[in-house]
């Protein structure tokens, strides 16, 4: 069975600084997808970034980038130049690449950006 672990329940960062959120996962699959979703207070989860396991290159989306280490089963999210609007709950999610529609989520990291 696949599991996703986010070991940092809460983090804070000063505005304009860089922060890294950790995510590790466990799977025996070789092909899968990983996601970071952001959930602002009282708002829906929105996709921040996704990574295909077969791609070695780390995904980047503006100020958001990942460090995907397949052998270590690690998928961390780096937020550069943090902004107040980045304050949210961040969820790491995994889905294997065959025969399922089921995302497996971590417990989330609550990030607060301080002015």
């Amino acid at each position: 069975a696949q599991t996703v672990t986010q070991s940092q329940p809460e983090m804070s960062v000063q505005e304009a600084e860089t922060v890294t959120l950790s995510c590790t996962y466990d799977t025996s699959e070789n092909n899968y997808y990983l996601f970071w979703y952001k959930q602002p207070p009282s708002r829906q989860m929105i996709l921040v970034i996704r990574q295909e396991a077969y791609k070695q290159q780390n995904a980047t989306e503006n100020r958001f980038s990942v460090n995907f280490q397949k052998a270590a089963k690690s998928f961390s999210l780096k937020i550069s130049d943090s902004q107040l609007g980045d304050t949210a709950m961040y969820f790491c999610a995994f889905i294997r690449d065959s025969g399922t529609y089921k995302y497996i989520f971590g417990t989330g990291t609550r990030l607060k950006v301080l002015a």
Binding site: V4, Y32, Y33, F35, Y37, S42, R43, Q44, M45, I46, L47, R50, E52, F91, A93, I95, R96, D97, S98, T100, Y101, K102, Y103, I104, F105, G106, T107, G108
Partner: protein, 115 residues
């Protein structure tokens, strides 16, 4: 930008009562999902739905739960006889096509409180 919407945002019910949670997926999406998050725990997959059929369900999704697409726009989750442990945030999601590679878009959630 199109969004998944859910109503109500908060539902309070008595144990043993039936509840129906409503979702309007993104209009050109064909695959629909329900997830739930008990307070302080992980977001968990409940069910996926395509072409008026359940395509996958978790062990949580027992006979007390049912899903339906009653018309061309709504997607509902019914809990027949609510229990205290059904208290959770329920998220609806949709995706354009099948397959693990397709991103699921989430609604803002319905907080269900069972008294």
């Amino acid at each position: 930008e199109p969004e998944v919407t859910q109503t109500p945002s908060h539902q309070v019910t008595q144990m043993g009562q039936e509840v129906i949670l409503r979702c309007v997926p993104i209009s050109n999406h064909l695959y629909f999902y329900w997830y739930r998050q008990i307070l302080g725990q992980k977001v968990e997959f409940l069910v996926s739905f395509y072409n008026n059929e359940i395509s996958e369900k978790s062990e949580i999704f027992d006979d007390q739960f049912s899903v339906e697409r009653p018309d061309g726009s709504n997607f509902t989750l019914k809990i027949r006889s609510t229990k205290l442990e059904d208290s959770a945030m329920y998220f609806c999601a949709s995706s354009e096509s099948s397959g693990s590679a397709d991103t699921q878009y989430f609604g803002p959630g319905t907080r269900l409180t069972v008294l």
